[in-house]
Symmetry: C2
Subunit: 454 residues, 2 copies
């Protein structure tokens, strides 16, 4: 492992922040098909400027994956994954500055997508730029996948991963990254939960009715409320029979890693303004639930009149969006089947279930050489042993396809500029500018040391 | 009772349809405070053109009541009630023509408010115009109240009724009107249900969260779903303890009136595209439930992401609008108290309840002289005994105030151009032009005969 002299990376960091602002000023809302091609061209332009050879990998339907490759001098090949799409910005009223006008306040940069995930694209670019400036060439080969449909569950990434599995071969993959805990300790994460995303819909009348007819007409809103209530009890237990049958309990090694993780519960409580977590959990039990607890979450529900004031209507239709986070060895197809069976058994055969996204969980073994290498580089750079989370609470549905078709071991390493406190998926998404600089400095070391490691 | 020669009212009917189109082309959405003053001026102009002396009766807050008075030759004084505001037009995508561009298709006139209640204002005006043209003067005195906040629960009408109770004195009141059954039989209705309209709200997080945190963060959406599910069981029974304690069973006379009512269930089933009513009800049992069944209706519910596609969010807030229709002798203040107690007892003290509207039920006795008079005139005009509904499924919160402060007996009589099949409160609201003509013809007879009746 190379000992790195103190270098002044500030010109590259500043340039990287400019790139991040340019990326975020361009809306890219995959859920609404907004700004996809414009952003893809913008991303490609940034890669080409750095000397990457680029390709548009286009699925038979859906948004292009931008692929860039830059040959380096060393034998190590590193695969990078990012996505250039973002979540919808709603509710707009809760933003303090417009979501697509990147704005700096108090050392923080606010914009939709700055944390998830455009800021990281810019940080990785900045590290590459710094290395090329220093060495004249890259010390490792970088293959870079930039997807445009991550926030809608990567419905077409499987096709791309299958078709280009050979092109994506590498010695290790940095997934969309992790960062540092509030205390500054670097963090690695080795897996993601699976996801089943469905829409429930009840449509009981040909048209909305005056609510004076409520004594005798069926109500889609009540029907949906009762169907939902049948899925989970007031205490939070999921009531779908068989839901937990395939859940594999965490191993002793995984539990030990959870023991070693920092306690971030206080900052989480502050961020969300809560006195306590569900079931009063704390410490290792809280982390175990966060990592290994499967969920049935209501991401959205709507029916009838949702505007200001009073409207006395009996709504014809009602809908809900549910996301189930799945842990090893739950499979989305099986959960979907159990959900449908449960609704039918409860008499809710008139409530339709439409799958909008699905992926299984993915976990990289702790003893994979790439994992051990990144851990060592991280510890050397920060002077502190990184914590290792065996399973993240989030999901990246593309990882299942990437793992299945390439076999490249992946992980979430430090180098993400906004992992904590960043309001991902929420109003006022932001990163701290200091975190961005820290990410660029670490990534330039990580790339250099991986380059000299084979 | 005068025997009326066949008169050609078609010029007055055509002019009335023009007035109806003018009124509907002007949006008047009380829930959004849209177009109130413009419509008030338009309504006043129509009254002044007919010779009415007008006043703006302004509550200390809220929209003006337009009051018009036209002295007639006969001793009878008739009070008319209408409202010039309309329901919001949403969902816009389901309208076949723009809601505020009145459009005729296949003998029907489509527009928001044409049935509820601007078309009736125009029909009453047309009847007054026809009588003045024929007799040179009105045979009775008309006092006309036109309110602008009916669709938001008439929050300020109580103040107006209290202040102007003496001005509103009359021998009888035609409330916003009724019409004829699908078979053509005229209908009277003698009362309305009470209404309690509330908004439930859960706000559990300082901001929306990534749904990866769902294992450990409380969910406002689930909280609201469980609070709602605790109010009513899957079979439709309301679970709030004490909710039904004050319900007075229908009297034998009321049940006899229900027996005599026409069976409109088939057209209702067609209109709403349903195979059966709740609990498989039919016949008198269906009519009894419709008239005397109190309700707990979900008028709207919303939380989280409600747009297209996928968003994996754990919503910070969730809301629902509920309307309770109350029967004699339920009182809204008591129901509100029972609702709050029930939520508290179920552990839902973190779900807030905000009252947005409230009024008690109102019923005029079947043997009131005004009721008997209108029944006789109706039977003479149509050649068929009218059906009499003792209690409507709908509510007019202002009626409680009107009754309390004036004591004038009121009813819903024929003369409304769009009572049936009209999509009130729903997309594609409309009236049949034939029904409009029928209403004008009947109203001109009703006004004339009431004028000669004292």
């Amino acid at each position: 492992m190379t000992k790195h002299p103190e270098r002044d990376l500030s010109p590259y960091i500043e340039r990287g922040i400019e790139d991040a602002r340019r990326l975020c000023a361009q809306p890219t809302i995959a859920a609404q098909g907004l700004g996809i091609e414009e952003t893809a061209r913008l991303v490609e332009g940034l890669l080409v400027d750095m000397g990457f050879a680029t390709q548009w990998l286009c699925p038979s339907a859906g948004s292009p994956v931008i692929y860039g490759e830059l040959q380096g001098t060393g034998p190590f090949t590193l695969l990078l994954y990012n996505h250039y799409d973002v979540q919808p910005p709603e509710p707009l009223a809760l933003w303090d500055s417009p979501p697509f006008e990147p704005t700096v306040r108090n050392g923080k940069l606010y914009a939709r997508g700055i944390s998830d995930d455009k800021g990281e694209i810019a940080a990785r670019l900045a590290a590459v730029r710094a290395l090329i400036a220093e060495y004249g060439t890259l010390p490792l080969t970088i293959k870079w996948i930039l997807e445009g449909e991550e926030e809608v569950g990567s419905p077409n990434f499987g096709e791309i991963a299958e078709r280009y599995g050979a092109l994506f071969q590498a010695d290790g993959c940095l997934w969309e990254g992790a960062g540092r805990s509030p205390s500054g300790r670097p963090e690695l994460c080795l897996g993601v939960k699976g996801l089943l995303y469905v829409e429930l819909h009840a449509d009981l009348l040909a048209q909305d009715a005056h609510s004076g007819l409520a004594p005798i007409l069926p109500s889609a809103a009540w029907r949906l409320v009762h169907a939902l209530a049948s899925l989970k009890d007031k205490g939070g237990s999921i009531l779908i029979p068989g839901f937990g049958d395939d859940v594999r309990p965490p191993s002793l090694g995984q539990l030990a890693a959870l023991e070693d993780e920092p306690d971030t519960s206080e900052s989480l409580r502050d961020l969300y303004g809560i006195d306590a977590f569900v079931d009063g959990l704390s410490g290792v039990a809280l982390r175990e639930r966060a990592a290994f607890g499967p969920t049935c979450n209501i991401a959205g529900v709507w029916s009838g009149y949702t505007g200001e004031g009073v409207k006395t209507v009996l709504p014809a239709e009602a809908s809900a969006k549910l996301d189930f986070r799945l842990v090893p060895d739950q499979r989305p197809a099986r959960i979907l089947e159990l959900l449908r069976n449960h609704l039918d058994a409860g008499g809710f055969d008139d409530v339709s279930v439409t799958q909008l996204g699905a992926a299984g969980p993915v976990v990289t073994p702790l003893d994979a050489p790439f994992v051990q290498k990144v851990m060592a580089i991280t510890e050397a750079h920060y002077g502190v042993r990184p914590s290792v989370r065996p399973l993240s609470g989030g999901s990246l549905p593309l990882l299942q396809a990437l793992e299945e078709h390439t076999g490249v071991p992946g992980l979430f390493a430090p180098g993400h500029p906004g992992y904590w406190r960043s309001g991902a998926h929420a109003p006022n998404e932001h990163i701290r500018l200091d975190d961005f600089g820290d990410a660029v400095r670490f990534l330039s070391v990580l790339f250099a040391d991986l380059g000299s490691s084979l």
